[in-house]
């Protein structure tokens, strides 16, 4: 059975490296951070998201796809070319690695974008992923890309030659699933337009959240927490223009006994949100890092059941499940702190950063 036909609970390691001034570097430091947290994964999944890697194509959609067979590729390309203008296509360069087996075909396409075509792109992604067998779009943003698969993150980094890419933000994930997924698309980060989400924990509210968000035409085909959380954030941030911090007020809303004690305006605000959008409330442990166009956000669940450390040094921000992973990327740090329960932390790129 494929992932998507049943749910695989998993634990993980997450990390991020962000240059606020959009200075770019290759994937070496982030890979070392993931290597540091090797014990949190079990080799059955890993991945990276990189922002700023396709400056020559920065206004085009960069689609990353997995194909089971060449026939699936043909079917998918027929669909894509019917709806979009494909400007360039190529296989994503990879290097054989002893620990990385059974890789699918991995391709990328640069696609012309016109104004307001985000919904069209998400529809394309949903259609391909639910209806074209053996084809999966796992990244569809601009000037960014997800690289993931079944294996340890550090091995996948080598496999994907991540030291050949220059990115101003790297986000990474190492997975510890309790089942053998075998299917590369199930690995994380989950990519959708400019969003790339990594998540540590297993949420108990999954089915309640899924059955809510599916009402708005988001197909939960992977049955993963990461997928449903990304959809909730897309719904709130892109469709309803909420900020990441406001999303935390919904996804990790305070407890009623705290809300009861708040001053009237805050009480009204939180009650209004929880009263109406309670089906998006997440129960269970989670720490998430979301990459998006204007920056990177991190959020913790209400009971702080997973750890997430944040470090700052010069114009870099580091995030990781463990301090040692941050220290590996940057031994010196101006500031190091643990993200508190319910708290949302956002890094925004500097105005004049290019």
């Amino acid at each position: 059975m494929k992932e998507g036909e049943f749910r695989i609970p998993s634990g993980c390691a997450i990390a991020a490296l962000i240059h606020k001034d959009k200075h770019r570097e290759n994937g070496e430091r982030i890979t070392q951070a993931m290597q540091m947290m090797h014990e949190r994964s079990n080799g059955l999944g890993g991945g990276f998201a990189a922002y700023g890697i396709y400056p020559e194509h920065k206004n085009e959609y960069a689609l990353h796809l997995f194909y089971d067979t060449l026939q699936c590729k043909d079917a998918c390309e027929a669909y894509l070319s019917h709806h979009w203008n494909i400007l360039h296509e190529e296989e994503i360069p990879t290097k054989p690695h002893s620990q990385i087996k059974d890789a699918p075909l991995i391709w990328r396409y640069f696609i012309e974008s016109v104004e307001h075509d985000e919904n069209k792109m998400t529809e394309t992604m949903f259609y391909v992923n639910t209806s074209i067998t053996g084809a999966y779009i796992f990244s569809c943003g601009k000037n960014m890309g997800v690289f993931k698969g079944v294996g340890y993150p550090e091995d996948l980094a080598e496999f994907y030659c991540l030291n050949q890419y220059q990115a101003y933000t790297w986000i990474a994930h190492g997975r510890y699933p309790t089942n053998t997924p075998g299917w590369w698309a199930g690995a994380h980060p989950f990519g959708m337009l400019d969003f790339a989400l990594v998540h540590n924990g297993e949420i108990s509210s999954y089915d309640a959240n899924r059955r809510y968000i599916e009402m708005f035409d988001y197909p939960c085909s992977l049955l993963t927490d990461t997928e449903v959380i990304t959809y909730e954030l897309d719904f709130l941030m892109r469709k309803h223009q909420l900020s990441f911090v406001e999303c935390a007020d919904i996804l990790a809303a305070p407890f009623w006994d705290e809300i009861d004690q708040m001053r009237p305006d805050k009480k009204r605000y939180y009650t209004m949100l929880r009263r109406n959008l309670g089906s998006m409330l997440i129960n269970g442990p989670f720490s998430i890092i979301l990459g998006f166009q204007d920056g990177v956000g991190a959020m913790n669940d209400r009971l702080k059941l997973r750890s997430l450390m944040i470090g700052e040094q010069a114009s870099c921000v580091y995030m990781a499940s463990e301090e040692s992973a941050i220290r590996k990327m940057s031994p010196q740090l101006n500031r190091l702190f643990s993200l508190k329960a319910q708290e949302a932390y956002v890094v925004t790129y500097e105005e004049d950063a290019k």
Partner: protein
């Protein structure tokens, strides 16, 4: 002196066990877990960022850390001492039943959960900074002291001492508002307890080479549930 670079946790622990130095010094620690687990009879100095589960099941050794410590340190610690010149993550001292942990700076969530004591063994934990949510949850024995030496706005998070039914949770407050997240009542510590605290803090101040404020007000969290299951069940 042991250089931890490129050594795994197991290799480090083997070196610790095999060493007969008076004080074992380990440099360049970065993320190695399980260091000094179940260790006894050693004095160890650690430099760097210690990974999860430092000193779990510690059985009498003394560990001094120059750097930060990650999660689950001193899990089910039985005896010994940990002096931490830095801050630590979540779940410090879970199920600890003996020995002492002194932390210079802040701690994360769920520290001091279900610590327990007997007539002959009493664990002690002193935090120089502040603690987050669920501090001393399920506490059944031992003493926890939060000093908040930096006088932050709040010394502890929510749900402090929830389910605690024995032992003492003691907060140093320069202003009662620093216990704003506390739902339990507080009472000023009695003289006997104050004497115990003073003695413990003397040792603490020595270990960190600091001078503590001359006047310090200590308050103890009043435990709510001595017998939490009393009215809960009816036989079927």
């Amino acid at each position: 002196m042991i250089d931890a670079k490129n050594l795994t946790a197991s290799e480090l622990n083997t070196k610790i066990r095999e060493s007969d130095a008076d004080v074992i010094e380990i440099q360049n620690i970065l993320g190695q877990r399980y260091i000094a687990n179940a260790s006894n009879g050693k004095k160890i100095k650690l430099f760097g960022t210690c990974g999860n589960n430092l000193g779990s099941f510690l059985d009498g050794s003394e560990i001094e850390v120059f750097g930060n410590v990650q999660d689950a340190c001193a899990n089910t610690m039985n005896d010994g001492k940990i002096i931490l010149h830095g801050m630590c993550g979540d779940a410090l001292g879970y199920g600890m039943r003996g020995g002492k942990i002194f932390v210079e700076k802040d701690c994360g969530s769920r520290c001091g959960i279900h610590m327990k004591a007997t007539k002959t063994k009493q664990p002690l934990m002193i935090i120089g900074g502040v603690v987050q949510d669920f501090f001393g949850e399920y506490l059944s024995g031992g003493t926890l002291i939060v000093l908040n030496l930096q006088n932050e706005a709040s010394c502890c998070g929510r749900y402090c001492g929830c389910g605690a039914h024995g032992g003492s949770i003691i907060l140093r407050l320069s202003d009662l508002s620093q216990a704003c997240h506390l739902t339990s009542q507080l009472k000023k510590v009695d003289d006997k307890k104050k004497a115990y605290i003073d003695q413990a803090l003397n040792e603490y101040a020595n270990d960190f080479h600091i001078t503590l404020p001359k006047t310090m007000d200590f308050y103890e969290v009043i435990m709510q549930n001595k017998n939490p299951y009393e009215r809960l069940y009816v036989e079927n």
